[in-house]
């Protein structure tokens, strides 16, 4: 069992911006006006544009990236591929929210010459509501 398992990384707070949501929505091809148009989002009862669920990638990244590069975890980034991903969502995130994410290394294992590194991210908004839990499985070839 690797010493990395159970290790947590410092929580990072991400301020969700309107233009960042729109930039992300355009990059993934979202067409729902809730993600793009403030007027449409307000008409639907939201304070501002709504982040697509997969925007979790953006607010969780500042927490998980240091873990992926941590020398004690020891991932060879050039040989890393993303093996699997799961997200579980709570309330929607809207522009203006502040989301704080903590990351934990939950499993390290080796099978068939591949090393598996599993991380969990837990993201809460400024009201303490759990907006997303992410499970990130990264595979390093040639372990």
């Amino acid at each position: 069992m690797s010493e990395a398992v159970g290790r947590t990384f410092p929580p990072v707070t991400y301020a969700v911006g309107r233009e960042k949501i729109r930039e992300y929505a355009v990059a993934v091809g979202e067409t729902n006006p809730l993600h793009l148009d403030v007027g449409a989002a307000r008409a639907a009862g939201f304070d501002d544009v709504v982040a697509p669920p997969m925007f979790a990638v953006v607010y969780a990244a500042p927490s998980i990236m240091p873990a992926l590069f941590d020398p004690d975890i020891g991932i060879d980034f050039a040989r890393m591929v993303h093996g699997g991903q799961a997200f579980a969502w709570g309330p929607l995130v809207v522009a203006g929210d502040e989301v704080t994410t903590e990351c934990e290394c939950t499993d390290v294992s080796e099978r068939g010459g591949l090393a598996f590194f599993v991380f969990e991210t837990r993201s809460d908004n400024q009201r303490g509501e759990r907006v997303c839990t992410g499970t990130w499985t990264n595979i390093v070839r040639g372990a």
Binding site: K20, Y24, A27, N32, H35, P53, F77, G84, Q85, L92
Partner: protein, 136 residues
Amino acid sequence: MREGDALPELTITPDRYVTVRYAGASGDFNPIHIDDEFARSVGLPGRILHGLWTMAQVARAVTESAGDPAALKRLEVQFRGMALPEHEITVTSTVKEVRADGTAVVVAHAEQNGKKIIRGARAEIEGGAGAEPAAS
């Protein structure tokens, strides 16, 4: 949504620079996604798509069918193979189960050039039982 329903298929052809825009939008600047020469130096055919961009297409397929981004409560995927820019991707989704509380469980996969690039995708759509996906 009822058990066995096929949800509208989503097709998208990622343009040549989508990985650059997605790198900027997501903060993932791994050079395998944005630098052809680097990608080839580590044994890839060229720049490959971000797996999470492709997962976002699966998320889009199911939230568009549900008609509400808040309905997507859970999504898990397995990434397989390499997906490339400028080749069409198809997301196929089917309702596997509708639970007593109205949550629809949808299974999906994404294909490019006849190969599955995401398999075993599984989504939970709250209130999915009451959603009526538009015919594709």
